[in-house]
């Protein structure tokens, strides 16, 4: 018998089943299910939901063998890498410069737009960030290690 390749359709119900099992286990052992006088305890509801999830995950797992394999185009992950880069750069140079750098690199280097389009795009995004979030909502965005060294 030939074994079918592991696909994400199979992995998802396995992951949900593991989550369900974890919630059931902690619900019963740590948070408590039922008390004779007080009735349902904090673990009661998540345990019930966990049991239902475990059963349905099993059904979905069986059904996953009939589904076609899902593909994940590599370029779909680039924005995720961009967000990781923004989070790391924020620690060093602060969030607003990191966002500006991301936009410039994305439009100029990845999308190969002209400097004119890149700068217009940058101006639009910075107008949203600075105008709406900094000036209007007063969000104190992190300024990064370098700024903190210079300022203090």
């Amino acid at each position: 018998m030939q074994l079918k390749k592991v696909t994400s359709q199979m992995v998802i119900p396995v992951v949900t089943a593991v989550i369900a099992a974890l919630f059931i286990y902690l619900g019963i052992t740590k948070y408590g299910f039922w008390h004779e006088l007080r009735g349902p305890l904090p673990g009661f509801f998540p345990t019930l939901i966990g049991v239902a999830l475990l059963a349905l995950s099993f059904i979905a797992f069986l059904g996953s063998f009939k589904e076609e394999k899902t593909t994940y185009p590599i370029e779909s992950w680039y924005p995720a890498l961009g967000v990781i880069a923004i989070m790391l750069a924020t620690l060093v140079i602060g969030m607003i410069p990191s966002l500006a750098l991301f936009v410039i690199l994305w439009l100029k280097w990845y999308e190969k737009y002209s400097w004119k389009t890149t700068l217009i795009g940058l101006a639009v995004i910075m107008a949203i960030v600075i105008g709406a979030f900094v000036m209007w909502l007063g969000v104190p965005f992190p300024k990064g290690i370098i700024y903190n060294w210079i300022a203090y």
């Binding site: 185009p73 967000v83 949203i128």
Partner: protein, 502 residues
Amino acid sequence: MENLEMLLMGFSVVLTFQNVMVTMLGAVLGLVVGAMPGIGSLAGVALLLPLTYKFNPTTAIIMLGALYYSNMYGGSFSAILLNIPGDSPAVMTALDGYPMATKRNRPGQALFTSNLSSFIGGFIGMVILTFMGPALAELGLKFGPAEMTSLLLVAMTSIGWLVGESPTKGVILTLVGILLATMGMDTLTGSPRYDFGNMYLLGGIPFIPFVIGAVGFSQVLKLMTERNKKVDVNLTQKLTIKGSMLTLHDVRRLVPPAIRSGFMGTFVGVLPGAGATTGAFLGYAAQKAFKSEKPLGSGAIEGIASCESANNAAAAGSFAPLLALGIPGSGTGAVLLGGLMMWGLNPGPLLFSSNPDFAWGLIASLFLANLLTLFISLGVIPFLIKILTVPVRILIPIITVVCVVGSYSTSNSMYGVIIMFLSGLFGYVLDRNGYGVAPMLLSFVLAPLLESNMRKAFIISNGGLGIFVDKPISAFLLLILLAIVVTPVVKFILRKVGTRKQ
């Protein structure tokens, strides 16, 4: 009459300079974001949610209502001009909207037909909401914990079961949403649970970064494969406001289907899981039974009017269970409900009596938003081609940045960004595998209410299940639940039997 008096009181709350401006801002933003390619109303409302932080709760809620409502208008623009529905209710609009814009060479009139029908449908929906909302709330007051538990189970299951390609997958995500919502503090005792020793998780998973990631950032990841799609604009004439005006004859053709669909759409919108898309489909299907001057599908005004009126009426109708029972009918409704809760407002049977300013202010703001959106949507007609053809390649970094700053601004910490990032990846993987995230958002919002009601019911009954069937309303709701669960199973079996016979 009392309802009309309360509505007038709602208008007195809404009609301040700040609130009118905010309604207008919400309408413009909702319209533009709703019209932009690939964003849609769910992601649109989620991305714009952080903008309401600055306001007092009433103003914030008015802006949210305007955002949500005007988004419904925006989806039809790309359907009419480009044959690309901006959201699922606009699928039906494209059937007649695009031929009217291209074959009949009346793009402006097609847009105006859509806008005017949306206005009529929305207005009918709001009038019915004015009377039905408080009546539904009164009925809701009769609901004890057992009835509320059954009602919430019906709402959650119907959306999980009916929306999306697989009922099993829908219900799995509903359950995952519930479990994620139980992390943090126990709703009844206040004791920590499932925090895994993490101080951030002790406060639970924050709703706004979660929703921005699950629908906004995951949309960015999806859009990456559509970066190089070219948008074809097949119009031979320039769009102007003057050139979009309808003739008296056009209006006469538009009004009857718009009124019929307005009533039908409102009642469809009240049902959880049905919503604007079903409203639009039913409105269009019903129009087939009536006379249309031009055949449906060939650019008939009646075709556009019937579905556009129905979908906006459904959007208005869905506010009745949302406000009166605290039950949203769609993913977008769930985001809106999350936004209302963020402002300390708990929609439910007591809302109309305990927070009349909020409830009636919101309903009045819908009337105002409907009127303002009609004028604004007429005003944006000359710019629509520019809005609709914004390259996806430019939108991707813009939406990414909005996701990052929007999620950061909710807690002023990177925790929000991390939650957004993880839920974005999660939402993307789920979407690729046929799991729509709307049921998860809905259950995430409703889980605390379900848990507290279920536990109270079990405390009252001393652990007995009989409480759920002894009470007639609860028993009736459980029957509906059973029907929802059993219908697709029976359909599946009948289909299998049918194919075997062939």
